[in-house]
């Protein structure tokens, strides 16, 4: 038994089986929930590369699986992340119990989750670019359902991600050549340019960001949020691997300074643009773009970037899940997420409105919510580097907060005589799910030490003295 078999191959097999259950969304969602939960338990209980005795069985999980001469390795240090990742997937699949969605979503989402872990595990790690592209191709199918016109944002997403993969592959070759033949400034600059273009395309850095708001405007909000949050996380970890693998890139070109500048610009643009949006889906798109900027700033910190990156993953996925669930439920009731179509919706469905606003506030880094503790650490670290970084980061969050307040104003706007929860018809299950999400946002925000405790091994614990 190998770790990649458990956490990569078995989800892929279950994803294929779920494809045949696509007609029954609730059943496939329940199976996916229980399956991912069992993977969480396995990651918690089994010890990779150590003999584990469970009852009469003696199990040793080998960390490595070799396929066509290349290996997939899941070291024991990654176990806390596996718990976190599959736990998040369980939450996302839980949302499918309350929202009508594309039938094949469960199957494709589980496959994309497995590819994510494969991208982290593959050696040499450059092959992750190819796996990311395969995940992108799968995601196009769920982002563009057959009953809706082809959205230009999806096409741009496909083009940019494909071009990004090509640049990364060439950059990997160029970097390998530099290692083999020795450092030469021309070669280093060339490799850095390829690498820069590759990550600019993959991470949708300004000005290559246009597809994100287009996607979140036209695609199903729950699907778009899932794909974007997973993809951004995947590319973030991939970028970190690059920086760790080639430390001389930083020494030769001071690449962190460039990353800081690009990250800060992306945050500022996203914050400003978010302020002026009149579509709830597009606001979420700009919030995710803001997250891209945060990822770049995190990578540029060098010292704690790996721990901070995992730290950012937790509020990102949870906040966006709550936000997207609320958006999907609102969309199912109004058929549109434009401001003029959702006016007063929070008076009829208060919990949906609360979920949407708190998800947004958490993303903006408002205190007591899940995003704040980790953003606070990030801002603290940035302040040590330069005052302008903290000012720009806070301006981005301020823009998102303004957009959240505008959304709130629109959601509670309505005829004066309409009493508050008079027409609340959202199902009990959907309210329970949203409430669980909202409570989790507060719990992580108020007691970050307790929540991050299981992930001490990744170094996050050191960030919360």
């Amino acid at each position: 038994m190998t770790a990649p078999t458990i956490w990569i191959i078995s989800p892929l097999i279950v994803a294929v089986l779920l494809f045949f259950l696509r007609r029954n969304q609730v059943l496939s969602a329940i199976i996916a929930m229980f399956f991912t939960l069992s993977l969480v338990i396995l990651a918690w209980q089994l010890e990779i590369d150590t003999v584990t005795i469970i009852g009469p069985w003696v199990i040793k999980v080998n960390p490595q699986l070799i396929v066509a001469g290349r290996s997939f390795v899941i070291p024991p240090a990654q176990q806390p992340f596996l718990i976190l990742f599959f736990g998040m997937l369980t939450f996302w699949f839980g949302g499918l119990l309350v929202i009508p969605i594309l039938p094949i979503f469960t199957s494709v989402a589980l496959a994309i989750g497995a590819i994510f872990i494969a991208a982290l595990a593959v050696q040499p790690f450059l092959y992750a670019a190819l796996l990311i592209e395969i995940a992108v191709l799968l995601s196009v199918v769920i982002l563009s359902p057959t009953d809706k016109p082809v959205n230009r944002g999806v096409m741009r997403y496909l083009i940019y991600q494909t071009l990004g993969m090509l640049f990364i592959l060439i950059a990997g070759w160029a970097l390998g050549g530099i290692e083999a033949r020795g450092e030469n400034m021309d070669n280093i600059i060339r490799a850095a340019i390829f690498l820069g273009f590759g990550f600019a395309f993959l991470l949708a850095v300004f000005p290559l960001h246009t597809w994100i708001p287009m996607l979140t405007e036209h695609a199903h909000p729950y699907i778009a949020a899932f794909i974007l949050s997973i993809l951004l996380s995947m590319v973030a970890f991939f970028s970190l691997n690059f920086i760790e693998r080639y430390p001389w890139l930083q020494e030769s070109l001071n690449i962190f300074r460039t990353l800081r500048f690009i990250g800060a610009t992306t945050i500022l643009i996203a914050g400003i643009w978010a302020t002026f949006q009149r579509h709830l889906g597009r606001i979420m798109g700009f919030a995710l773009m803001l997250e891209v900027g945060r990822i770049l700033l995190t990578i540029s910190l060098s010292q704690e970037s790996a721990a901070l990156n995992i730290g950012l993953f937790i509020p990102r996925v949870l906040s966006v899940a709550v936000w997207a669930l609320a958006l999907a439920l609102i969309d199912a009731r109004t058929g549109s997420l434009r401001f003029r179509d959702v006016q007063g919706i929070a008076r009829r469905f208060p919990i949906l409105g609360v979920g949407l606003i708190f998800g947004q506030f958490s993303f903006a880094g408002i205190p007591l919510l899940a995003g704040f503790p980790i953003y606070n650490i990030l801002w603290g670290q940035l302040a040590e580097i330069g005052w302008w970084l903290i000012v720009v980061s806070l301006l981005g969050s301020f823009g998102l907060t303004i957009s959240a307040l505008r959304s709130l104003a629109v959601l509670v706007m309505g005829p004066a005589e309409l009493p508050w929860p008079k027409d609340e018809k959202s199902s009990l299950t959907s309210r329970i799910f949203l409430l669980i999400g909202i409570i989790a946002l507060f719990l992580i925000g108020i007691f970050p030490q307790l929540f991050y405790l299981p992930f001490l091994q990744t170094g996050i614990g050191a960030l919360f003295p």
């Binding site: 066509a68 563009s144 809706k148 016109p149 082809v150 230009r152 496909l158 083009i159 592959l169």
Partner: protein, 198 residues
């Protein structure tokens, strides 16, 4: 047979097929050009790889072309003829394609300084396909044409990348990606093509 002796003609074939893909208004002609393009890709890759390994590229490419072709037989009304009935549109594209071809001719010697394992024909063929594919992507919003553009860019990339990387797994992944793009194209062809705004 010495494929190296045929290399200049193969580059010519690639230039013609890429230009046809860029200019063509007929989907049958475009799919035929795509199929022919993969023959050129095979021959240029075979300069660096054993022929039996290079054939993977041809097989994957032809399957991709077949997938798109079969979808277009069913959904030929979905083909995006963006040039309309005016000759000026085609003429403009021919002019741009010519300019791009000249630019690539001048760029090829520069590339050969760092792509040391690639022959000049491989570099030129790769640059022509990549640049024409990018042109195609820049000129269209039609999903079917975008897929053709992506496949062309990927073909150009694969020629130069074959001189750098011979790993079986990487090439299996690239073949899967080629087929995946074609399948996504076939999937998008069965959908309404109207853009719902930006």
């Amino acid at each position: 047979m010495d494929i190296g002796a045929l290399a200049p003609f193969i580059v010519g074939l690639l230039a013609v097929t890429a230009a046809v893909l860029f200019i063509s208004r007929d989907w049958r002609l475009s799919i035929s050009a795509l199929g022919a393009q993969y023959v050129g890709v095979l021959l240029l890759i075979a300069l660096s790889w054993p022929f039996e390994l290079a054939v993977i590229k041809l097989v994957a490419g032809w399957i991709a072309a077949a997938i798109l072709g079969m979808s277009l037989i069913e959904q030929h009304h979905a083909w995006g003829d963006e040039l309309g009935h005016h000759f000026s549109g085609s003429l403009f594209r021919i002019f741009i394609a010519g300019l791009m071809g000249l630019a690539m001719l001048s760029l090829a010697p520069e590339i050969s300084q760092w792509a040391v394992h690639a022959s000049s024909e491989q570099i030129l063929g790769s640059l022509i396909l990549t640049s024409f594919g990018l042109l195609h992507l820049g000129f269209t919003v039609q999903p079917d044409r975008i897929i053709l553009g992506l496949l062309t860019v990927l073909s150009g990339f694969e020629i130069i990348y074959a001189t750098m990387e011979t790993s079986l797994l990487v090439n299996a992944f690239l073949a899967v990606i080629n087929l995946g793009i074609a399948l996504v194209g076939a999937y998008l062809l069965i959908k309404p093509t109207a853009e719902s705004g930006s």
